[in-house]
Amino acid sequence: MSMTIGSPTVPLARDRGGPAQPLLTVDGLVKHFPVKKGFGGAKAVVRAVDGVDFAILKGETLGVVGESGCGKSTTARLIMGLIAHDQGNLLFDGERIGSRALPLRDFRAQAQMVFQDSYSSLNPRMTVEGSIAFGPRVHGVPKRQAIERARSLLARVGLEPARFAARYPHELSGGQRQRVNIARALALEPRLVVLDEAVSALDKSVEAQVLNLLMDLKQEFNLTYLFISHDLNVVRFICDRVAVMYLGQVVEIGPADTVLAAPAHPYTAALLSSMPSMDPDARTQVAPLAGDPPNPIDPPAGCRFHPRCALVEPVCRGTVPPLDALDSIHRVACLARQPNSGHSLAQARRVAA
């Protein structure tokens, strides 16, 4: 930890499991929200997160991408314990979150979150330094020290304390507010930071400034990021690995360079070719996917992507593809990529981007 931030309050989180132990393991995570369907109608559930598995390694940035309604933000809130999950396990550095060895409060001292809406995530009645100092104050840091730390964090995220510390959120621009939110997340010296569309609402030039800041901070404070975004360009740039979610499940996970350059899942390929072209001479001619993202209330049987898939075959309608290893670091849930699945393309290795 950097010396500028003052003395640590939370006992320095010790690396329990060693470097090979994933920092966070998400195992079979399920969250269904009940909804009433019409007047007196049968009760339905939104399968927001429906069996999600992945691991975040120490010091890496894992990206999560997918359309709206795919469950990426719900996954983030489940991980942080903001909403309770129905099934599954969350392990932080090998310990189950909420167990006696790692109560929720202790976990939260080591994991923090930055939200998309920079205005809604700051208390309008609190000064910027007050918001940042709130967490340390809760953990028993004396007021003066907490304010001092807030100011040095402000300086670290590029906001001169003398000018910004006493301001209120509405006196800042969107980019400045998001810097404050990042400073607040860092005030408890977390090991894991969940960034839920943290740069999505910013103007492009401000987004670039904040991305640079995030990369610097990661190095300086030894952070691990869970980076949720819908912008594949940003994910490709900042993430080491990427998980692609569709209708509450992970359909592909692997190194960002591989997944976003040579995607194995047809959905990932479609996401990629949906990005607008930057070349006026090579504009997109055909939309890769028709229609809107489907509703997670009644997901299709078999492979959930099959109604929109270009590679669909009869087997896809009946068989749920497991998230199987393509190689040691790249896993995909697609029958066309899995040998002996009964799909005619099962032997082919990859689809073109």
Binding site: R105, M113, M126, T127, F134, G158, G174, R184, L188
Partner: protein
């Protein structure tokens, strides 16, 4: 100063941001804080300021009335009943028992304000507690509390006040209790909806993530943001409360004679309405002025509290 500005420049450069950031370092006026801003705005609102002055003046007169009334408000004279406004002895005339109207109006403000404002204060405390709890905790707690509150909404507030007062019996205390019961559900409803909105803000989630207890979050993050709107709503209820309280007294369910109270005075003077209508209308005018002042002030307060996004 120039030196400081220049030194600040490199930091400024990376402080990225869009719209309204002031360009020069010294262009920023240090913030007054939220209540400072509200006060600043209120001071520039002439209507709200006039209303506030009237309220303050009437409160001051009411509080000081035992010492400053020109005549004894209780001593009447059968010979000098119902003198008109502008009489040599009685500036605002005299009532049906020959007591000085001005003195009685001054002293009457005491009781009228007391039985009008107290129920709102009590209801503000109780209603906010119920509403904030229901809004923050949500779930079945919310359902139970708010459905109970809804039952009270089935009755018009005037009827409810009369029914409760009737059941409890006449008297100042019972009048205050019944009016409090009338206003608690209304304030609880507003408190619940404001709290539910605030509860959904990301900063409350961020506070939960920082490990703060529910009580700390309520106190530090929620309370400051919900009490303002509830307070504004409560001030707008004071006028209703004063009219209801006077109404109860008028019906003989509140203050008992010979205590001067505006509603009660209106009642006892009603027999004189054909003899001296101007004098008979004076207590009503007093109620009208005070309640409209509270309403205007509450309006000003609401617009002053609107935080710009």
């Amino acid at each position: 100063m120039a030196l400081a500005t220049q030194a600040a420049a490199p930091v400024l450069d990376i402080a990225g941001g869009a719209a309204p950031a002031p360009a020069a370092a010294d262009a920023f006026v240090p913030s007054r804080g939220f209540w400072g801003q509200v006060g600043h705005k209120l001071l520039r609102d002439p209507v709200a300021m006039v209303a506030a002055c009237i309220i303050l003046a009437i409160i001051a007169i009411a509080v000081l009335s035992p010492w400053i009334t020109p005549m004894d408000p209780y001593r009447g004279s059968m010979l000098r009943r119902l003198k008109p406004i502008g009489d040599a002895t009685y500036i605002l005339g005299s009532d049906e028992l020959g007591r000085d109207m001005l003195s009685r109006l001054m002293l009457g403000g005491r009781l009228s304000l007391f039985i009008g404002v107290t129920p709102v204060i009590l209801a503000f405390i109780i209603g906010s507690a119920i509403g904030i709890l229901a809004g923050y905790v949500g779930g079945w707690v919310n359902t139970v509390l708010m459905r109970t509150v809804d039952v009270f909404f089935a009755f018009p507030s005037v009827l409810l006040a009369i029914a409760l007062s009737g059941a409890l019996g006449a008297g100042i205390f019972n009048s205050i209790v019944s009016l409090t019961c009338v206003f608690v559900p209304q304030i609880a409803r507003v408190a619940e909806s404001v709290t539910t909105q605030i509860r959904a803000r990301d900063y409350v989630d961020a506070a939960r993530l920082s490990g703060a207890s529910t009580l700390t979050i309520l106190r530090v993050q929620v309370l400051g943001n919900v009490l303002g709107p509830i307070f504004v709503y409560a001030t707008s209820l004071i006028s209703v409360s004063m009219i209801l309280a006077s109404g109860l007294s008028f019906l003989g369910l509140g203050v008992k004679p010979p205590e001067p109270e505006w509603g009660l005075m209106l009642n006892t003077l009603r027999t004189a309405i054909y003899v001296n209508p101007m004098v008979a209308a004076l207590p009503g005018l007093a109620i009208f002025i005070v309640s409209i002042s509270f309403n205007l002030f509450s309006d000003g307060l609401r617009s002053a509290m609107e935080v710009k996004a």
